[in-house]
Structures are given as structure tokens and as C-alpha cells.
């Protein structure tokens, strides 16, 4: 096989209208997905910008209106967020299912986090048509259409034997045609992606890695198509075989896997956590202050001797029972997280049977839009909320006179750098 072979087959194949149309379809699909992904990511950035401005305005208003640490802690919202990575436009991942922004207050946190449940999104492929979806789901379909009748069509036209006998080497015909069509499809899909990368400021390493992953994925399907196309069956039979395999691995296995995982891994629901925490908080209103404070001191012994109250409502008691509410919900929150991680791990095993799911996991992992990225953000929120408590508790429990200047040291949420790449 030499350059002349490659040029001959490339010119020959691209002159076929059916091939040109399929490649155009791939290019348009990829372009559409890159465009919608870029718009989605831009909207997320705009939302963050808008919320940051609003957050700042709200905080100033609260600061001017109230002159008490308790009121300020209660009324002030703090924006936390996980900005989309530059690569998120290509792999929106689970950001439409897991929250990527919370405006948290000093109140009990777990209820704020678990306002909604998160299922196994990595197995639910029928989602947004982002670049990952186009590659994982549509590209094998395009390859099947391009390659299934590679030989069958020539056989049907009575040209197969003539081509085989005429070809200088075995590799200069069928393998070469397969390779050219695969590379042509890869280019049709990857060019819009590269434009999207340029617009979204994706780093060269990410560009290279994603391009390589997509190429490997297409190579995998090309080998499957090539091997099936060798069978001496009519083109419709070969297409049915390949489409059956595509359907099985892309939709049926993930769907069945989702059901199996749901049945196999049981854990608390987000609503349970929310209710447990709220009930603990609500019950506290009817309990003697000392009962709440005793529970609080078990985890915060440093405030021993500073928890006595002299009136029916005091902020330190209020925030103490918020803390206790969180602590009561904590075992459920841990179990919830453990279940989510177990399901994610099991979904990883299912993905070994579903190349499309495996690809989706790889791309969303690389784009920091997968479930572990969302959990990481949750942990950031918890850590930030703990910082807020550490900041306010000394003022509340020591009875420090209010000073607006002290608020300059109040924690500010800093998004994790990895999400920005």
C-alpha cells in the first residue's frame, strides 16, 4: 500500500454520493452538537456571572440592613458553584442532573444539598445531543451505513472477484477502503469539535486526548464492521447484524444494567435526608435549649461553658440546632453517597459491555462533568459551609459585639481549579 493507493481510493470513495451524504450528515450532527454544547456552557457561565453579581448585591444589602452576626449569618446567601470546564461543551455530562450551583446559608446544609435525587445518569444515554452523544451513539451508526456493504455491494454488482483479482495487494482494497472511510468520518466529526475547542479555549492536551479517544472508538467499530462485512451475506443481512449489535450495546445493555443496578443497590433517597434534617430542626423548637446544646457540645466541645441561653430565642441556639440537624442527617447522607458511588462503580462494569457508555464515561470524566466531579463539588460546598460555621461560631458563642469590619474575613467560595482546567 502506498500514497497512490490512498489517493486513488480516497478520490474514488468521496465521489460516491451516498458516502458524501453520510459524511455530510456526520459533519452537520457534530456541528450541531458543538454549537448546542457551546451555547449551553455559555449559558452556565452567564448564570454564574449573573448570580455572582446578585450575590454581591444581596450581601451588601444584608450587611447594611442588619448589625448582628446572627441576622447576617441567617440572611446572607453564599453562592457556590462548579464552573463548566472548557471541555464541557463537548461532554455536558450530568450537569443537568446533579446541581452545579447552590446558594447556601448558615442553616442546616444537607437539606439544601439533597433537595432532589440523582439516579444513574451515566446509563441514561437518551439525553442532550452533545458531542459525546453524537460520537457514542451516532458515529457507529454512520460507520455501519458506510461500511456494512463494503463487499456486499460489490458482490451484488458482480465486481467483487474482479476487484480482488485486480488488486495489487490485499491491503490495497478492503482494509484501505475501510481505513479511508473511518478517517473521513473522524475528520467530519472532529473538525467541528476542533472549532468548538478553539472557541471555548480548550487546552492542547485535552484536544489531543479527546481526538485520540474518538479515533480509537471509531477504530473499534470499524474493525467490527470490517469483520462482519467479510461475511458472504447480502447487504441487508449484514446491516441487520451490525445494527442489532449497535442497538444491543448502545441502548439495551445500559437500560437493562440501569434496572439491575437500581434493584441491586438500595439506599436512602434525597427526600429522606431532607425530611430527617428538617424534622430534627423543627423538633428542636419544642425541646429545652439545653437538650440541643448538649447534643451540639458532643461534636463541639470547645464551646463548653458558652452555650447557656437567657431568652427564648438566641442565634447561637438557633444555629446549634441547625448543626445538630445536619449531624442527625449525616448517616443518611453518607449512606446516600455510598449508594451513589456503588451504583457508579457497578455502572462502570456494565460499561465494559457497552462501548458507547464506556466512551461517555471517559469523555465526561475528562471534561469534569461526570458524577465524581459533581460529588467533588458537593464536598467543596460542605467544606465551605464548615468554614462559614467556623467563622460565625466564635462571634455567636463568645457574644462578640458586632463589627462590620470583621466581615472582611468571612469565607468566600472559591471554585475548584480542576473544573476550569
Amino acid at each position: 500500500m502506498n500514497f497512490l493507493d490512498v489517493r486513488r481510493e480516497t478520490v474514488f470513495l468521496l465521489r460516491k454520493k451516498s458516502i458524501a451524504l453520510l459524511l455530510l450528515a456526520g459533519f452537520l450532527l457534530a456541528s450541531f452538537s458543538v454549537w448546542t454544547g457551546s451555547v449551553d456552557v455559555a449559558q452556565q457561565h452567564q448564570t454564574i456571572e449573573r448570580l455572582l453579581v446578585g450575590d454581591s448585591v444581596d450581601r451588601e444589602e444584608v450587611t447594611h440592613k442588619h448589625h448582628d452576626y446572627g441576622y447576617i449569618a441567617y440572611y446572607t446567601f453564599h453562592l457556590t458553584y462548579a464552573p463548566p470546564s472548557p471541555l464541557a461543551f463537548a461532554a455536558l455530562g450530568v450537569r443537568d442532573i446533579y446541581p452545579w450551583k447552590h446558594r447556601v446559608r448558615m442553616l442546616a446544609l444537607e437539606g439544601q444539598i439533597h433537595e432532589s435525587d440523582t439516579p444513574n445518569p451515566e446509563l441514561a444515554l437518551a439525553g442532550k445531543i452533545d458531542f459525546t452523544f453524537v460520537i457514542a451513539v451516532f458515529s457507529p451508526l454512520l460507520l455501519i451505513l458506510l461500511l456494512h456493504d463494503l463487499r456486499a455491494s460489490e458482490r451484488a454488482a458482480g465486481r467483487h472477484d474482479f476487484l480482488v483479482v485486480t488488486a495489487r495487494t490485499r491491503n490495497s482494497l478492503w482494509p484501505l477502503r475501510t481505513a479511508i472511510l473511518m478517517v473521513a468520518l473522524w475528520l467530519a466529526l472532529i473538525v467541528p469539535f476542533l472549532l468548538g475547542c478553539a472557541v471555548n479555549g480548550v487546552g492542547i492536551v485535552d484536544v489531543f486526548m479527546i481526538s485520540a479517544i474518538v479515533l480509537v472508538y471509531l477504530l473499534f467499530w470499524s474493525v467490527i464492521c470490517y469483520l462482519v462485512a467479510r461475511l458472504a451475506f447480502p447487504a441487508p443481512v449484514l446491516a441487520s447484524l451490525l445494527l442489532g449489535g449497535w442497538l444491543l450495546t448502545t441502548f439495551i445493555i445500559p437500560a437493562v444494567g440501569d434496572v439491575v443496578i437500581e434493584e441491586a443497590y438500595h439506599g436512602p433517597e434525597g427526600g429522606n435526608i431532607l425530611m430527617t434534617q428538617r424534622e430534627a430542626v423543627n423538633d428542636a423548637w419544642d425541646l429545652p435549649h439545653q437538650v440541643t446544646m448538649d447534643a451540639f457540645l458532643e461534636t463541639h466541645p470547645q464551646w463548653q461553658g458558652k452555650t447557656q441561653t437567657t431568652s427564648l430565642f438566641e442565634w447561637k441556639w438557633y444555629f446549634a440546632f441547625q448543626q445538630v440537624g445536619d449531624e442527625k442527617a449525616l448517616p443518611l447522607a453518607i449512606a446516600y453517597q455510598q449508594t451513589a458511588e456503588d451504583r457508579y462503580r457497578a455502572a462502570g462494569y456494565i460499561a465494559l459491555l457497552s462501548p458507547a457508555t464506556l466512551l461517555k464515561r471517559a469523555l465526561t470524566h475528562w471534561a469534569h462533568t461526570d458524577a465524581p466531579a459533581a460529588w467533588h463539588y458537593e464536598q467543596q460546598v460542605r467544606a465551605f459551609h464548615a468554614e462559614l460555621r467556623q467563622f460565625y461560631y466564635p462571634f455567636l458563642f463568645n457574644g462578640t459585639p458586632y463589627s462590620e469590619a470583621s466581615l472582611a474575613d468571612r469565607p468566600v467560595f472559591t471554585p475548584y481549579k480542576n473544573t476550569e482546567r
Partner: protein
Amino acid sequence: MSDVVIQATNLSVDVQSKQILKNISFQVLKGEVLALLGGNGAGKSTTIKTFLGLMKPTSGDVSLVGVSVPTNPDVVRKQVAYLPESVMLYGHLTAIENIRYFLSLSGKQKSDEDIAVSLKRVALQSSSWHQPLSGYSKGMRQKTAIALALLRDAPILFLDEPTSGLDPVAIDEFNRLINQLASQGATILMVTHDVYGACHVANRIGLLRDGELVGMFDAPAEGNIDSEVVHKAFSQGSEA
């Protein structure tokens, strides 16, 4: 050194448990034209496909210039030009584009002049050279394929019903071309059921019947052939 170019030795080919060729042996010498005659299902095309490496012998061997075809198909194909009964070149390409494509596929490069000369040799009208083959008649497509075979400069030619679809004038032209190629040293194995045509171009004629080589004789001078020979070649069904 032997002049044997094409050789079948005790060749048997089974397809789906059915024996298509039954222990046939023959040789074709350099510059010789051998025509295998037989009716439908006699095993003519199977013989050619086995020499082309498209089918494998169940037993026995086929070789070209001493090289076994089943074990070295790529090596021997480089020396072979093949003309199927009804070659379907690409309909969306013109005659010249088809020829260029298949020449390149075989690793040959020819000038425009060479291609024009070849197309003239097969008497394909020059006005059609740049027309897509989808508008060609069967005879015109066959002429294009013959031109391509000539351009391959292959020392060995396998022709499967080569004159099928050609008009009488074109058949005559074709026969002259074959004789010319043979006189230049090409070795040719053709299978046909056209007894009279075979007598005009072949040096020897083999009779295939029900997968067996039942006879081999020199082609009669002047193309005259005994009607008994014709009967033997095509009466397999009625004699069974």
C-alpha cells in the same frame, strides 16, 4: 526449464459437499490458448476461480509459472489479467476513469496515449470514452474491460465467456486480439460454451462435463469442428 505456465494437478473442488471439479489435470504452455468447453454447471468458472485464488482446491493443486496459487495468491495475481463473463465496471465512472482506477489498483501506470491506443484496439468509439459506463451497452462495457486487460500487460490471461454480449464484428476483433497476444507470448485460459468461437482462437480445446475433463484435443484448422464434439461438450444432462 519447462514452458508450463498454467497447471492443474489432480484438482478437485467441493462446494457445500457437492463435488464441482473431479480430479482434473491439464497444462497450458507459454504462448498457448486453451479453451475449456462445457455446458452450464460443468465447472468452467470454478476452474478459473480456483486459478485466481478465489476458491480453494479440496485436493490437488493449481499453479502458475510453478507457483502454487492457494499458498501464494497475491504473488500469482500480479501476473494475471482476468476478464469475467459480465464485468460490471463502475457505472458512475467513464471508461477512461474506470481504466485508470483499475490500473492503479493493480499497481500499473499508463499514459493517456496508451489508454487511447488500447480503447481503439477494442474498437470502442472515442465519443463514448468520457461518458459514464451506466449508459453503455453490455458490449461496450465488455470492450472497456478487454481494453483494461490489454493494458495490464499481464503474461497470463483468464477469460470467462469473454465474447458474451459482443456483436459479431467485435467478436472477430476480439479473436484477432487474443491471437495477437498469444503470438506475443501471453498464455491464455478461456472458458466458454461457444464451441465455434473457441475453435477460432484456441490452440487446444478441453471438454469439461459434470466436473470432469472428458477430452482434450487440438483445435481443428479453419475453425471447423466435428458436431460430435459439440454434442459431447453439451449433452451432460441428457446422457446421465
